[in-house]
C-alpha cells in the first residue's frame, strides 16, 4: 500500500454532492455503418469528487499534506466513502496545479472540494 495516509484529523465523510465514476478502459471504433466495435484494454482509475466542511486548522493540515507531504503527485491511503475499504488515491489537479478549492461557508468554516482518482 501507499506510504502516505490521509491525515486522521481531516474529515472522511463527504457532503451530499459526492460523485463517483466506474468502468474500464475500452477502445471504441466507429464504423462507416453499423454498431461500433469495442475492445477491452484494461483497468481504469475511478474518479471520486468530494467536498468536505473544514475548519481553518483542517484546511492548514490539508494544505501542508498536499504541498509538502505528497508534493501533489504521490498516492496515499484513503477510506473509500462508499465501500469503506482502504484504497490508494491521488488528487487530480485541475488547471495548472489546482488540487482543491475552498469556498467560504461561515466564520472559520470552509467548503473544500477536490477530485480524487482511486488507483486500480
Amino acid at each position: 500500500m501507499a506510504a502516505y495516509i490521509w491525515p486522521t484529523s481531516l474529515p472522511n465523510s463527504p457532503g451530499t454532492d459526492y460523485t463517483e465514476t466506474g468502468g474500464v478502459r475500452v477502445l471504441r471504433t466507429s464504423t462507416d455503418a453499423g454498431v461500433p466495435k469495442m475492445r477491452y484494454i484494461g483497468r481504469n482509475s475511478q474518479t471520486i469528487s468530494v467536498s468536505y466542511v473544514m475548519t481553518n486548522e483542517q484546511v492548514a493540515t490539508l494544505k501542508e499534506f498536499v504541498e509538502e507531504t505528497i508534493m501533489g503527485v504521490s498516492p496515499f491511503e484513503f477510506t473509500h466513502p462508499r465501500t469503506k475499504e482502504t484504497v490508494n488515491v491521488r488528487i487530480v489537479p485541475s488547471g495548472d496545479g489546482e488540487f482543491f478549492t475552498m469556498s467560504w461557508m461561515a466564520k472559520e468554516y470552509w467548503s473544500v472540494s477536490m477530485k480524487m482518482e482511486a488507483m486500480p
Binding site: 469495442m38 475492445r39 488507483m119
Partner: protein
C-alpha cells in the same frame, strides 16, 4: 508469409471481433553494450507493483486482486531501481516471463511507398523521467526487440519484430521520440567504388 498466419485464434479474435474482452500488448526490450541490463517496457498493464523491501516487491493481479511477493532477479535492475528508489509510489506493468514496467508509448509504422526507407518512429511518454538518464548516457544506437502478446497470455509471444536500432533520439520534459531503423543492404551504396577518374582513369 503474413503476420496474421502466426497469430493465435485468440489474438485474431481480439483484433477483429465485434466485442473483444482481450487485447494485444506491445512489449519493447531495449538492449545494448552501454545498457547493463535490458530495459523491459509494456504499453499496457495487468499488474500493480509496490515496494516491499529492497529485494522484493508486491505484485497484485488487477483482475483477480490476488497479491504475491516477487523477488527481484539480477536482470531486473531497471524495475528494481524504479520501485526501490520510490517506495511511496505505485507502479504498473505486465508479468510476461519477467516483469515489465508500464510506460505509455506509440509506434508509428513506416509508409508503404516502395522507395521510402523502413523507418518506424516510437514516442515514449516518459513523464517520470525513468529513461532519460539512460538515454543521455548512451553513445551508440541500442537494439530494440518488439513483441506482441495477449493480455490474457502474456508469456506466449504472438509476434516478434527483432533487429531494430534506436536512433535519432530527441526528448523534452515528458516525451522521448526516436526512430526505429533496420540495417538493410538495400540502402547501402553499390558498387563500393564510384567510376571516377582516380579509380578508372582509362574510362575518361
Amino acid at each position: 508469409m503474413s503476420r496474421l498466419a502466426t497469430l493465435s485464434p485468440a489474438a485474431l479474435r481480439a483484433m477483429f471481433a465485434q466485442h473483444a474482452d482481450d487485447t494485444l500488448i506491445t512489449l519493447v526490450t531495449i538492449t545494448g553494450d552501454e545498457i547493463s541490463n535490458p530495459i523491459r517496457l509494456a504499453d499496457n498493464y495487468t499488474h500493480r507493483f509496490e515496494y516491499l523491501s529492497d529485494t522484493e516487491m508486491t505484485v497484485t493481479d488487477l483482475s483477480t486482486k490476488e497479491a504475491s511477493v516477487y523477488t527481484f532477479a539480477d536482470t531486473d535492475t531497471v524495475i528494481k531501481d524504479a520501485v526501490v528508489s520510490q517506495p511511496e509510489e505505485i507502479f504498473y506493468g505486465v508479468i510476461a516471463t519477467t516483469p515489465r514496467l508500464f510506460l505509455p508509448f506509440a509506434i508509428t509504422l513506416p509508409t508503404e511507398e516502395p522507395e521510402a526507407s523502413s523507418v518506424c518512429q516510437i514516442k515514449m511518454y516518459d513523464v517520470t523521467r525513468m529513461l532519460i538518464p539512460t538515454i543521455r548516457s548512451i553513445t551508440e544506437a541500442p537494439s530494440v526487440l518488439i513483441e506482441l502478446v495477449l493480455m490474457s497470455t502474456p508469456n506466449n509471444v504472438e509476434a516478434e519484430f527483432p533487429g531494430f536500432l534506436l536512433g535519432g533520439i530527441t526528448y523534452n520534459r515528458d516525451e522521448i521520440t526516436a526512430q526505429l531503423t533496420v540495417e538493410s543492404d538495400v540502402s547501402e551504396p553499390f558498387p563500393a567504388y564510384c567510376f571516377t577518374p582516380s579509380y578508372f582513369p582509362s574510362e575518361f
